[in-house]
């Protein structure tokens, strides 16, 4: 047996957009154990419920993440609405669904670009981000914000999208889908990508479920968990099946995200086709008194906002459980037994969002 050495990985590393630290225990080039630690960007956002009224806290909830900010805001609003037993207008629910799926498109394209960059495939990185610009443009035109949309509020949404604009968005998706097909062919069939991903960082179906994996990490191992199936927002009215792969390796997780791009386009088209006319918000007149675990499907997996109110303007507790936090134990499992050179790709394959995880 070789001598064991510990190699620190992160918090600063070329493939890490955000800081996480891993102590990698190595025998020769093989990782035999991993000890993760976080806490470099802990902001204590959850305690701000004591300083901000529940209607103001939407802005803080959105700023939990700079990628899936809209979904954080929506999940928070959804939780408050459930506590208050508010019936949100259907049109608002459809608009939330459309913006959620555009957020998913932008998040997956961002990740695909970073993933390509981590493998040294610069041209693919630029192509993924070029397509992402189209999505960000749509978000900016319809909400006013590229990163923080600010379009969700307790009781509905702040902005409507005209039917004419919705028709244009549906038409533009045709060219976007064709461009995505070219991009996805490279990610799914290119030899150099397959050589870096296939059989690298494998997580079995049983381990994925037992360790609490969510999102593409779980679905890449064949666990068909997707919170959109619970029917929140307008998802209950739309045809949709979770995308799964069975290989459980880095390629499987990549393939799930690539295929989900097309699933999101389909969901946006369905929502545009079915969106009803009507109001986009209801007035809120009382303070939340009660508790609710509001759950949604973020691009990285299941998001939980636990909210507890006591009838005042300030909540007693906001607890945000993000998918990256719960995907850390599966990451530890994936890394055990891998080669040191594969660590960056495996870490990126869970699409870590540490700012989200630390809150």
């Amino acid at each position: 047996m070789s001598r064991k050495i510990v190699v620190p990985f992160g918090p600063q590393h070329p493939v890490l957009p955000e800081p996480i630290h891993l102590d990698l225990v190595l025998e020769d080039e093989t990782v035999v154990d991993v000890i993760p630690s976080i806490g470099y960007v802990h902001r204590g956002l959850e305690t701000l419920v004591a300083k901000r009224e529940y209607t103001e806290y939407v802005y803080i909830a959105e700023r939990t993440c700079g990628i899936c900010s809209f979904i954080h805001g929506m999940t928070y609003c959804q939780g408050i609405e459930q506590i208050m037993d508010l019936e949100v207008p259907q049109r608002a629910l459809y608009l939330r669904t459309i913006w959620s799926e555009y957020s998913r498109l932008h998040s997956h394209l961002l990740w695909l670009g970073l993933f390509a960059d981590a493998m040294g495939f610069e041209n693919l990185f630029m192509n993924a981000w070029r397509l992402r610009e189209f999505v960000l443009d749509v978000l900016e035109e319809t909400t006013g914000g590229r990163v923080i949309q600010g379009s969700c509020k307790v009781g509905g949404v702040r902005r409507d999208i005209s039917n004419e604009r919705l028709a244009i968005m549906a038409a533009e998706l045709t060219q976007f889908e064709a461009d995505l097909s070219d991009l996805s062919d490279v990610f799914l069939h290119d030899d150099s990508i397959q050589s870096r991903l296939v059989n690298v960082g494998t997580l079995s179906r049983t381990d994925a479920y037992d360790l609490g994996a969510v999102g593409p990490v779980a679905r890449g191992s064949g666990v068909a968990i997707d919170l959109r199936k619970t029917g929140y927002a307008a998802y209950g009215d739309l045809r949709f099946e979770p995308i799964t792969e069975t290989s459980g390796d880095s390629y499987g997780r990549c393939a799930v995200r690539v295929r989900e791009l097309f699933s999101s386009i389909d969901l946006i088209r369905q929502a545009i086709e079915k969106i009803p006319e009507g109001d986009i918000e209801v007035k809120v007149k009382v303070n939340p008194d009660g508790e609710y675990f509001s759950r949604s499907e973020q691009p990285r997996g299941e998001l939980v906002h636990y909210l507890k109110g006591n009838g005042t303007k300030h909540l007693v507790r906001s607890r945000i459980r993000t998918p990256t936090l719960t995907n850390i134990p599966p990451l530890v499992k994936m890394l055990r037994g891998c080669e040191l050179a594969d660590v960056p790709v495996i870490v990126l394959s869970i699409d870590p969002c540490i700012g989200c995880a630390e809150r």
């Binding site: 305690t47 300083k51 759950r295 719960t326």
Partner: protein
């Protein structure tokens, strides 16, 4: 029409925690999350589980000096939640499979959520 998820929460004594979690484990539930809330001088800890989109919670209510048994023997991934609970709220958890001894989440002051202190602007009461 938006579907409303049914959620159940059962309050149990701390001495029944391990037994109830074992039932969830044997029933094929996955651990969704563990969270802690400070209510007055007590802590309310929720353990959430899910199976086939059926969402269930159990809750224990403890005093600040209580020690909570770890569930990481049954749900290996629980160590992230238990270490977080310890590092932010100062709740003692006994028997964690990976115990970071307060170094999982690095904060400038110990247990910042136990007695939150705000600097500068005060709470926006009545605004």
């Amino acid at each position: 029409m938006m579907k409303i998820e049914q959620q159940t929460t059962v309050v149990i004594g701390i001495e029944h925690l391990i037994g109830r979690v074992e039932q969830f484990r044997k029933g094929g539930y996955r651990l969704v999350q563990v969270n802690c809330t400070k209510i007055g001088e007590e802590f309310e800890i929720n353990y959430s589980f899910e199976k086939d989109y059926r969402f269930e919670n159990i809750r224990i209510i403890i005093s600040p000096d209580s020690e909570v048994p770890s569930i990481s023997g049954m749900y290996w991934g629980a160590f992230v939640y238990e270490n977080e609970m310890h590092d932010l709220f100062g709740v003692a958890v006994k028997g964690m499979n990976i115990d970071f001894n307060g170094n999982f989440i690095k904060t400038s002051i110990p247990y910042p959520f136990r007695n939150p202190q705000f600097q500068g602007e005060g709470p926006c009461q009545g605004k």
